[in-house]
C-alpha cells in the first residue's frame, strides 16, 4: 500500500506540490496524468524517498518513510522498482550488467542463473541478444526498455513507471502496455504509471489520478474519467490548448 498525506514540496521559491494526498492499494494499478511540468516526476520520486517533502507523509505499507535516513530507506526500497523518464542506465556497464544490477543486490544467485533471468527479461522487453551492448549504442526507445527490464527483473512488489511509453512507436507502446499488465497480473505488483499517453492511462490504470495546479485535481475509474464533463479534465483529455493572442 502506498499512501501520500498532504505532501508539499517546493524548489527555491517555486511550489511544485501543495497538498497532494492519495492512497494506492496493494496490487492496484494507477495512472497519474497531468500537464508537462506539473510535478508528476517529482511526486513519483517522493514515493520512493528520492526526494524529501517539505511537509506531509509518505506511507509504504503503513510505514512513514519521510523521517528515514538513506540507510533505513534502502530496506524499504527493496520493495520497489523504478523506471526513469530518462532511462538513467549505468553507462559504464553493459546492458546485461545494468539489468543484473538489482538481481545481484537483492538475491544470491549463481552467474548462470543471473544470465538466464537477464536473458529472459530482455526477451520480455523485446530486446533479445543485446546483453553485451553498451547503453550508448542503443536508441532512446531501446534504452527505455532496458531501464524497464532493470526495474522488473528482481520482481519487486511495487513498480513506478515514469513515462514508460514516451518516445516509443505505437506498436512498441502497445507491447509495453501489455508488459506492464502482465507484470502486474503475474506478480500482483502494485503499479504506478506516470504518463502523457491517454491510451496507456486507459489500459493500464484501474484508476486515473490527474494532477493539476499542484494537487490531485480529479480521480476515478478510466471510463468515468474519460467521460468526465469537468472543463479542466476535458481539455487535457481532448488535448486542446488555450487560444493565445499571437502578435503575428
Amino acid at each position: 500500500m502506498i499512501e501520500a498525506r498532504n505532501l508539499k514540496k517546493g524548489f527555491g521559491t517555486q511550489p511544485v506540490l501543495d497538498g497532494v494526498s492519495f492512497r494506492i492499494e496493494n496490487g492496484e494499478s494507477v495512472a497519474i496524468i497531468g500537464r508537462s511540468g506539473c510535478g508528476k516526476s517529482v511526486l513519483l520520486k517522493h514515493l520512493i524517498g528520492l526526494l524529501q517533502p517539505d511537509a506531509g507523509e509518505v506511507l509504504i505499507d503503513s510505514e512513514n518513510i519521510v523521517p528515514m535516513n538513506e540507510r533505513q530507506l534502502l530496506r524499504v526500497r527493496r520493495k520497489f522498482g523504478m523506471v526513469f523518464q530518462g532511462s538513467a542506465l549505468f553507462d559504464s556497464m553493459t546492458v546485461a550488467e545494468n539489468v543484473a544490477f538489482g538481481l545481484r543486490r537483492h538475491e544470491h544467485l549463481t552467474e548462470t542463473e543471473i544470465a538466464r533471468r537477464v536473458a529472459e527479461t530482455l526477451e520480455m522487453v523485446d530486446l533479445p541478444g543485446t546483453e553485451t551492448k553498451n547503453p550508448a549504442e542503443l536508441s532512446g526507445g531501446m534504452r527505455k526498455r532496458v531501464g524497464l527490464a532493470r526495474a522488473i527483473v528482481y520482481e519487486p512488489q511495487i513498480v513506478l513507471y515514469d513515462e514508460p511509453t514516451t518516445g516509443l512507436d505505437p506498436i512498441m507502446s502497445d507491447s509495453i502496455d501489455q508488459l506492464m499488465l502482465r507484470v502486474r497480473d503475474r506478480l500482483k505488483v502494485t503499479t504506478v504509471v506516470v504518463t502523457h499517453d491517454m491510451r496507456t492511462a486507459r489500459r493500464v490504470g484501474q484508476r486515473v489520478l490527474m494532477m493539476h495546479d499542484k494537487k490531485i485535481y480529479a480521480s476515478g475509474a478510466p471510463d468515468d474519467f474519460f467521460a468526465s464533463r469537468d472543463p479542466v479534465v476535458r481539455q487535457f483529455i481532448d488535448g486542446v490548448a488555450d487560444p493565445k493572442e499571437t502578435p503575428f
Partner: protein, 259 residues
C-alpha cells in the same frame, strides 16, 4: 547585497554540513567494510597504476632539480657531499608526498568529479538508490580506500626515482663524491622521514577521493555544473593538500621529535 552575503554564508555552511555528512557516511561504511572488492581493485588500478607515468616524471625531475640547486648553494660553503642528504630528507618528508598528491589531484580528482557529476546529472545516482544501493557504499568508499592504498605506493615510487635521479645528476653531472654522498644521505635520512612521507600520502589519497566525490555528487545539474565540479575538485584537492601538509608537518615533526 546584505541578502546575498547572508545567502552565501548560509550556502557555504550548508555545503560544509553536506561534506561532513559525506565524510561521516564514508567512514561508517569504511569501518563496517561493506566494500565491493572488484570495484576497489579497479579503482586502485585507475588511481594508482594509471598515474604512474605522471608521478614518475614529476619525481625524477624534482629530484634532479633539487640536487642541482642544493649543490650550487652548498658548493659555496664546501659542503658538496651533504647535497644528497638534503635531497633525501626533502623528498621523503615533503616533496614526495606533496607533489605526488598534487599530480594525482589534477588527474584523478578531476576524473572522479566528472564521472560522478555525469552520473548525477543523468539520474544514475538516483537509479542506484532505487536499486537499494547506497551511493556512498558503492561509489565513494571504493574510491577513498583506493586513494589510501594507491597514494603511499605512488609516493614511494616517486621518492625512489627522485633519489635515483638526484644521485645520477649529483655524481655524474656535478661530480660530487659518490661514497660520501651516499653515506651522508643514509646517515641523515631516517626511517621516520619515510614514515612521515607515507602517512602524509595516506592522508592525501583519502582527501583527494573524498573531496572529488563530494564535488561530483553535489554538482549543479547540467553540463556546466559538471565542468565546474571537475575544475573545483582539482583545485580544492590541491589547496587542501597544501594546507594540510603544513599542519601535518608541524604535528608529525613534533611526534617524531618525541620518539
Amino acid at each position: 547585497m546584505i541578502y546575498s552575503a547572508k545567502q552565501r554564508v548560509t550556502e557555504s555552511l550548508a555545503g560544509l554540513g553536506r561534506f561532513t555528512w559525506l565524510a561521516k557516511e564514508a567512514l561508517a561504511s569504511l569501518v563496517t567494510f561493506k566494500v565491493a572488492w572488484r570495484d576497489l581493485l579497479y579503482q586502485v588500478y585507475f588511481i594508482g597504476v594509471k598515474s604512474q607515468a605522471v608521478v614518475l616524471v614529476t619525481g625524477a625531475f624534482t629530484g634532479m632539480v633539487l640536487a642541482a640547486q642544493t649543490y650550487y648553494q652548498f658548493h659555496k660553503v664546501k659542503m658538496d657531499t651533504a647535497t644528497l642528504a638534503v635531497v633525501g630528507v626533502s623528498l621523503c618528508d615533503e616533496l614526495g608526498p606533496v607533489l605526488t598528491g598534487l599530480m594525482v589531484a589534477g588527474r584523478v580528482g578531476a576524473a572522479i568529479a566528472a564521472e560522478l557529476g555525469t552520473m548525477r546529472v543523468t539520474e544514475q545516482i538516483d537509479a542506484l538508490r532505487t536499486l537499494a544501493t547506497h551511493p556512498v557504499d558503492y561509489l565513494v568508499v571504493p574510491r577513498i580506500a583506493a586513494g589510501h592504498i594507491a597514494l603511499p605506493l605512488l609516493t614511494i615510487e616517486s621518492i625512489c626515482v627522485g633519489i635515483g635521479a638526484s644521485y645520477l645528476v649529483g655524481v655524474y653531472l656535478l661530480g660530487i663524491d659518490a661514497t660520501y654522498s651516499w653515506v651522508n644521505m643514509l646517515r641523515y635520512t631516517h626511517d621516520v622521514d619515510v614514515m612521515i612521507g607515507l602517512i602524509k600520502a595516506f592522508v592525501y589519497g583519502g582527501l583527494i577521493a573524498l573531496i572529488s566525490c563530494y564535488k561530483g555528487l553535489t554538482c549543479r545539474l547540467g553540463a556546466e555544473g559538471v565542468g565546474r565540479a571537475t575544475t573545483e575538485a582539482a583545485v580544492y584537492s590541491s589547496i587542501t593538500i597544501l594546507i594540510t601538509n603544513f599542519f601535518l608537518t608541524l604535528v608529525l615533526g613534533k611526534i617524531a621529535s618525541l620518539l
